[in-house]
């Protein structure tokens, strides 16, 4: 443990040195050859969107493919992309008119057959897509004519457009039938603003502007070539940025971003993300009897943690304290919930009332941002709750929770950038593996919200669920996350809260 800590602090120190000595009077050649060089941190599984689960994969998919609709990242409005218009025929049938005259990168014409093939492929359980939940709300898809399709759902699915805008890219049917997911991962073909020049699996991706791109809501791409290399070490990414090897890096830690901001050659932009951090407690006693089955104890945890201080000192940037169990911009999220201000005295009082005047000792679980987990533990210790840290890999912790263990911990959820409460609250409070509240009424409200296409009905029900979660303090939501984007002054780029980097929106200054 000490070793890991030392390594981390050494890394920070060395990164500091990198920045301190970097001359930063770089003449960036990349604008001259019209190539934007950037990096991924993670080796992605495949470029085929349906067979990967990484953010990097989502980013690539938006450049290479299009969805039926497009969500404007600024206004949040849905506009037609491969479709030009749509209408709900009834609660479970959505009809799309498709755009005519679009060609795939390989020259194949786009029409209803492509949409029907792609969707039918993705929803077929035999094809084992990585994230079935992206598509399995679709029961079937039907071609009415060459440019009209109908999507049928099992039950009303209000987030249909949200899912179709980002999670269901459309593939060329003939090509996909021929090459399959492996071929698509190595030589992707889409209708998107960028076509793929080369793929070295996990390591290196080169995209070229697609000259025949249709005039859709994404607009025409401006930069000619996008060259993406996977560089796992953030310090090496910084070194490449400082030595002119790359033009854009994102996910830069706050302390490094602060130092880079002083450079006259680099632009640092901080943008919030949909990820929120929260403390979960075993309120229903799934993992056995424990102090958190008592509401006062859970509320004491809410009063014990100075969330604003964590935001100010550790999260920084555009992070904010959140009180409801959702990201504020998500459809159905409300701010009208009970809040727990930082008040250690009140926390101790609540613990005394609950029968724990001397506090108690309990296991505490976390999987990322160890310094934040430790800050939370320090606040808890101050009111008498001695939390023993178990720091696990995400998969191990999630597995443990599914088996009713690890009920008290610091966790986070990014909603996969889906701007809808069903992507977070409904994931955790409907008696799933990670639901430690097991509140029948909360589940009923969430079900009502998830299956209504009437926005008012949805909001009313989600609001009730979120208010109950806050009153009962099943979760103590903590704060939202943020990401730092650092790029050379040559690049014109405005990041968005959905953490999707859109190369087609970038240009040279």
């Amino acid at each position: 443990m000490a070793c890991v800590k030392m390594r981390n602090s050494l890394l920070k120190l060395s990164a500091g040195i990198l920045i301190a000595v970097g001359p930063l009077n770089t003449a960036f050649a990349n604008k001259a050859d019209d190539t934007l060089r950037t990096t991924f941190t993670k080796e992605i599984e495949s470029v085929d969107f349906y067979f990967q689960s990484a953010r990097e994969g989502s980013i690539l998919s938006r450049q290479i493919w299009d969805g039926l609709v497009f969500r404007d990242p600024k206004s949040g409005e849905y506009v037609g992309n491969l479709a030009t218009s749509w209408k709900w025929i009834n609660d479970t049938t959505l009809e799309f008119k498709l755009r005519e005259g679009i060609k795939f990168h390989n020259g194949e014409d786009f029409d209803a057959d492509d949409v029907v093939y792609t969707v039918s492929f993705a929803i077929n359980p035999d094809n084992h897509v990585t994230s079935p939940s992206y598509v399995n709300w679709i029961k079937s898809i039907e071609k009415l004519d060459q440019y009209t399709v109908r999507v049928h759902t099992d039950s009303p699915f209000p987030a249909a457009l949200e899912f179709l805008s980002g999670l269901v890219p459309i593939y060329p049917n003939e090509y996909y039938a021929e090459v399959g997911p492996t071929g698509m991962g190595l030589k992707p073909v889409g209708t998107g603003p960028y076509k793929v020049e080369s793929v070295e699996p996990g390591k290196h991706f080169v995209l070229k502007k697609f000259e025949g791109y249709h005039d859709g809501p994404k607009g025409q791409p401006s930069i000619g070539t996008i060259d993406i290399r996977t560089i796992p070490d953030i310090n090496t990414q910084m070194a490449e940025l400082l030595s002119g090897g790359v033009d854009l890096v994102w996910g830069v830690p706050a302390d490094l971003a602060e130092q880079l901001a002083s450079s006259s050659d680099l632009t640092v932009v901080n943008e919030s993300t949909m990820r929120i951090g929260y403390v979960t407690m075993d309120a229903s006693g799934r993992g056995g009897d424990n102090p958190f089955t008592n509401r006062e104890v859970r509320q004491a945890v809410g009063h014990a943690i100075d969330r604003q201080a964590i935001v100010d000192n550790l999260m920084k940037g555009s992070s904010v304290v959140v009180h409801a169990a959702c990201y504020p911009s998500q459809i159905g999220c409300t701010k009208e919930v009970e809040t727990y201000d930082f008040n250690p005295a009140q926390a101790r009082e609540l613990l005394t009332e609950a029968g724990y005047p001397d506090g108690f000792s309990i296991d505490f679980y976390a999987y990322r941002e160890r310094p934040i987990a430790e800050a939370i533990m320090a606040y808890l210790a101050d009111v008498g709750i001695k939390a023993n840290l178990n720091y696990l890999k995400y998969s191990a912790l999630r597995d443990l929770q599914t088996k009713a263990g690890g009920g008290f911990g610091f966790l986070t959820w990014g909603s996969n950038s889906i701007n809808d409460v069903s992507a977070i609250t409904s994931q955790f409070f409907k008696f799933g593996g990670q639901d430690f509240a097991r509140d029948e009424e909360v589940k009923a409200w969430l079900d009502a919200g998830d299956t209504s296409v009437d926005e008012e009905v949805r909001k009313k029900n989600y609001s009730k669920a979120l208010q109950r979660i806050a009153e009962e303090a099943y979760w103590i939501p903590l704060f939202s996350y943020n990401s730092n984007y650092v790029f050379t002054k040559d690049v014109d780029f405005t990041p968005t809260p959905d953490e999707i980097v859109r190369f087609f929106d970038m240009s040279w200054k």
Binding site: S131, N235, E240
Partner: protein
Amino acid sequence: MLAFALKRLGLAILVTFTVSVISFSLLHLSGDPATSLAGENATAADIAAISRQYGFDRPLTVQYTDWLWKALHGDFGESYYFKLPVADLIADRLSITMTLGICAISFALLTAVPLGVAAAVRPNSVVDRTALFLSVAGQAMPSFWFGLVMIVIFSIKLRLLPASGSETWRHFIMPTVVLGYYAMPAIMRLTRAGMLEVLNADYIRTARAKGAGAGRVLFKHALRNAIVPVVSLSAVQMGFMLGGSVVVEAIFSLHGAGYLAWESIGRHDLPTVQALILIFSCFYILFTLLSDLANAWLDPRIRVG
């Protein structure tokens, strides 16, 4: 000699088998592979589907024997993560690691042995002290730190070498030095100690007395004897470099087999991990065997023994 070799080979196969059984069980104990494969945004239903698809719901022994049977037939399967044949994936990554490993061990030997000999010839001299300093620094400096310092100097300051990647030979210079420097001190200290011991031996005095030249005494008589343990150590170091160059590969973004192994463990990519472990253990065994043969050639006593 043949019986000896066969016995060793049999033992090696047993070791490899044991390693693969243990690693297989450990990987399964460290968390549900399905959860890991599904990714962070997966719902419970996604995870259950993946578990069924890959057969993680079967008993562990069944899963293991299934893998073993196919591996014995040369089929390492498909990577759970990349959905590509493991053999292709590893061939690509291993070439980088092998290049780096061979360059690094050559660098280490070419610097460490001459320094060790020089240090032994004049103990406690400036040369010896310098060599001592270099070796202490090499052992004390973590690879990632040394790597970053190199990047700062040669990539950012001087703009001489690329900071990351593996496209050209220039990309391998810094990783070679960093990885090689880590192995250098042990080799140098062992050369020095061996040489000091041998130089005081009676047969060296005899060789000098019969009028053999200084160079002949040093290299033909002394180094040949002193180098025996160095050869064994180099074999171990080479094995370490293949599997243990994770940090260097990560810093210089080389995407070699070491980094692939490390990442695959985190991703619960069992077919890849299993195949890599098998290959790494084979290499380890091969290098040990080669060093034994080299030593037997260098030292006739080993041949007889």
